[in-house]
């Protein structure tokens, strides 16, 4: 058509996106600053440290090549700690995810004062964390002191050292982390379940859906993003297992040692040998494992899509 009349009236709708993007940038800016300062920058530094030599505890950047990684691989404790971590993951991850989802679904099956009370009971141990929960665990595992002593004695265990045997450690650590962490996740899942619209549930009931089917066919698929999120974070957290073996190892006569988990070994490289380079190398190895798991989970769910609404 004619090019003489240049249209200068843009449709209103096109103005909005530009305006929208700027505001979003501002909202997210403080976090981006913190993410850079306390997330990205330290991670890049750690990467650089992993190929740096440490003399007198001070870094000579890029001087080490791959020797830090070789130090880690050649240490006999590397393979044993990785084996321990694998053992622990195989038990803790399924136990954690299934336990949380199952309890959340069971709680949601009927509402009322009982389930509200139970939710609170499950949630409160989340308040105990860090050294306090380990100290509590030491007492719980003690067949002479804790409230479970009848159960432990029935199993034939009479002293703490009998309970905290090396082959039982993955299971014991699972119990500890489930105790401290499950409640928070159950609360999150419960909220997610509450978000499922009543209409869907009513319609399913009318179609003859029993409670179990409701849980498995309706509720479960709709909370999959949360399960994925939880799987990733639980996996990442489990890889970083540190406090439990570190403190349990200090109990008199404990055979856990100071190098049970890879994170403990990394800590030892950093603070016992002053070799922050090897510590960074080991941590990055663990990071890649965690990342692999995360990427796999992300592939199978669309966690990052903003329009992944569940209602």
């Amino acid at each position: 058509m004619s090019t003489l009349v240049k249209s200068t009236t843009y449709p209103i709708v096109r103005r909005a996106p530009r305006f929208r993007v700027n505001a979003a940038h501002l909202l997210v800016l403080p976090y981006v600053i913190f993410l850079t300062l306390f997330g990205v920058l330290p991670e890049i530094t750690a990467l650089v440290f992993s190929v740096s030599k440490f003399v007198g505890g001070r870094p000579q950047l890029f001087a080490a090549g791959l020797s830090n990684y070789m130090t880690v691989f050649n240490d006999t404790r590397f393979s044993t700690s990785m084996g321990h971590m694998l053992n622990y993951l195989l038990i803790a991850l399924p136990f954690g995810v299934i336990g949380v989802v199952m309890l959340a679904l069971l709680l949601h099956a009927r509402s009322g004062r009982l389930t509200a009370f139970l939710r609170t009971v499950y949630f409160v141990p989340g308040a105990v964390a860090g050294p306090a929960v380990i100290i509590l665990a030491i007492f719980m595992f003690d067949p002479n002191v804790g409230p479970f002593r009848a159960l432990l004695s029935a199993l034939g265990l009479t002293t703490v050292s009998q309970v905290v045997r090396n082959y039982r450690l993955p299971f014991l650590f699972t119990l500890i982390s489930f105790f401290a962490g499950a409640g928070g996740w159950i609360a999150i899942f419960f909220g997610a379940l509450n978000n499922i619209s009543q209409e869907i549930q009513e319609a399913a009931k009318l179609d003859g859906c029993g409670l179990i089917q409701m849980a498995l066919r309706i509720k479960f698929p709709l909370i999959r993003p949360y399960i994925a999120y939880m799987a990733i974070l639980t996996f990442a957290g489990n890889i970083q297992l540190f406090a439990e073996p570190q403190l349990l190892g200090k109990v008199q006569g404990s055979t856990v040692g100071s190098y049970w988990s890879p994170n403990q070994l990394s800590y030892a490289f950093a603070f016992e040998y002053g070799n922050f380079g090897a510590a960074a190398a080991l941590s990055l190895l663990m990071l890649s494992i965690g990342l692999l798991g995360a990427i796999l989970v992300l592939r199978f769910t669309s966690l990052f899509r903003a329009d992944a609404a569940i209602n």
Partner: protein
């Protein structure tokens, strides 16, 4: 006019010179006395600081005390090295921790030799400061107290069974076999934690970290000095006379309080803190003169008895201190002062103070007779070849040997695994490892 001028100039010069002299005197004096020092201790050592300040009131403002968890000391030094500041001036820590901070990456301690009179050094118990002397001769700490292992035994019970206290490990083993046959259920020792390593392997001279030179260690658990201890322990654990629990395990304590403990090798502080004889003591809740103490047994083939230790700490000074005079004065005071060490909770490393300290023992009626002579003699029996190495052997011992025993294996069968682990730990700490000694 000119004379006046000259007089003035001379006066001015004199005045200037005098001011300079005074100034330098004043500043050096204030520099030595002026820089504050930070002292890292645990709460029990507060008494040491208080006594020092009482004896040196002008130093009161210069001493800053921090109660710390000394296990974090090596880690903290690394952080300080990175910031080039923040080091404490004086630290109370075990010789093992001092060894760790003496490594290349930390290089923390000050060499105390220029500050310590040779006569004073000679007055410490024989070998007490051995762990404080680096292979290159540097004196990096002064021992505060000793925890020499001795043999504690129940006097009336031994008499009742008609046993005599063993003076050799062979006799100890024979006694254990006798006890298992005649009085099963009675105990002559414990093998459930790192203390067992110090009691049975250190005293045997087992080379788990013998320093050949500053950078080389000799590790060989197949050495006869290790295998003889292992063989003995295996027999005694198998027949039940040595418990698989650790001495502080409630199950073990229950056996002690029901009167089943005949004897146990243990540290010098067991007398006051474990046996006790007081109402809330761990082993003996009454004091009826039932506790006897004997020298640690020796292996028949050895020329003399050797002993290990379980604990005992030292004082170390930072090489970065701004006031080395005050810092070393403090360390010398707390390690040698009769007023403090004479009333300290554990056996002083400084012999004259230890003799005074002996009186606190005689006050306790739990002892059958004065334990001090035995303790003092045992203090001189440290096996110096054990070596103050930078890796934690007790941790390795518990993780490898005690764990294997929980699985039903024998010590002898596990010595190989222990060897592999010790070698790995030593190499991680930067040592060269040799498994044979070329004479």
């Amino acid at each position: 006019m000119s004379r006046f001028f000259l007089l003035n100039r001379r006066a001015i010069t004199m005045a200037l010179l005098l001011t300079l002299v005074f100034a330098s005197v004043l500043t050096t004096h204030s520099q030595a006395a002026g820089s504050p020092i930070t002292v890292w201790i645990d709460s029990t050592r507060q008494a040491a600081v208080d006594k020092f300040i009482a004896a040196n009131p002008d130093a009161a403002d210069l001493i800053k005390v921090e109660i710390v968890d000394r296990a974090t000391f090596p880690a903290k030094v690394l952080l300080f090295n990175n910031t080039n500041s923040g080091w404490p001036d004086v630290v109370f820590a075990e010789p093992g921790l001092v060894a760790q901070v003496s490594d290349a990456s930390r290089d923390f301690p000050l060499d105390l030799r220029p500050f310590v009179d040779a006569k004073i050094l000679a007055n410490f118990a024989t070998g007490a400061n051995g762990d404080c002397i680096l292979p290159d001769g540097k004196l990096v700490c002064l021992r505060n107290d000793l925890a020499q292992n001795v043999l504690w035994y129940n006097v009336p019970l031994m008499k009742q069974f008609g046993y005599s206290v063993p003076t050799t490990w062979e006799e100890y083993q024979a006694l254990g076999e006798k006890v298992a046959k005649e009085h099963p259920g009675y105990l002559i020792g414990a093998f459930g934690d790192g203390q067992a390593m110090n009691n049975y392997f250190w005293s045997s001279g087992c080379p788990t970290g013998q320093l050949v030179n500053a950078t080389t260690v000799y590790i060989n658990t197949a050495d006869p000095k290790c295998t003889r201890a292992a063989a003995m322990v295996d027999v005694l654990v198998a027949n039940g006379s040595v418990s698989k629990s650790n001495p502080f395990d409630p199950a073990f304590i229950a056996q002690v309080t029901s009167g089943k403990l005949l004897m146990i090798p243990g540290a010098s502080w067991y007398g006051e803190y474990i046996f006790g004889g007081k109402k809330d003591s761990m082993y003996f809740q009454t004091a009826t003169g039932q506790l006897g103490v004997a020298l640690p047994p020796k292996w028949a083939a050895d020329p003399k008895a050797l002993t290990g230790a379980q604990g005992g700490a030292a004082w170390t000074v930072s090489k970065h201190t701004q006031n080395p005079e005050l810092a070393t004065k403090f360390v010398l005071f707390v390690t040698t002062d009769n007023g403090y060490q004479g009333t300290a909770p554990t056996f002083p490393a400084y012999t004259p103070a230890a003799t005074l300290w002996a009186k606190t023992l005689t006050a306790n009626p739990v002892y059958a007779q004065d334990p001090f002579p035995v303790l003092q003699q045992a203090a001189g029996l440290y096996d110096a070849t054990w070596g103050n190495v930078r890796y934690d052997r007790a941790e390795s011992f518990q993780r490898i040997i005690i764990a294997a025993m929980a699985d039903g294996k024998t010590v002898t069968a596990t010595l190989k695994d222990w060897q592999a682990d010790l070698v790995n730990l030593a190499q991680a700490q930067g040592y060269q490892v040799v498994t044979t000694l070329t004479k």
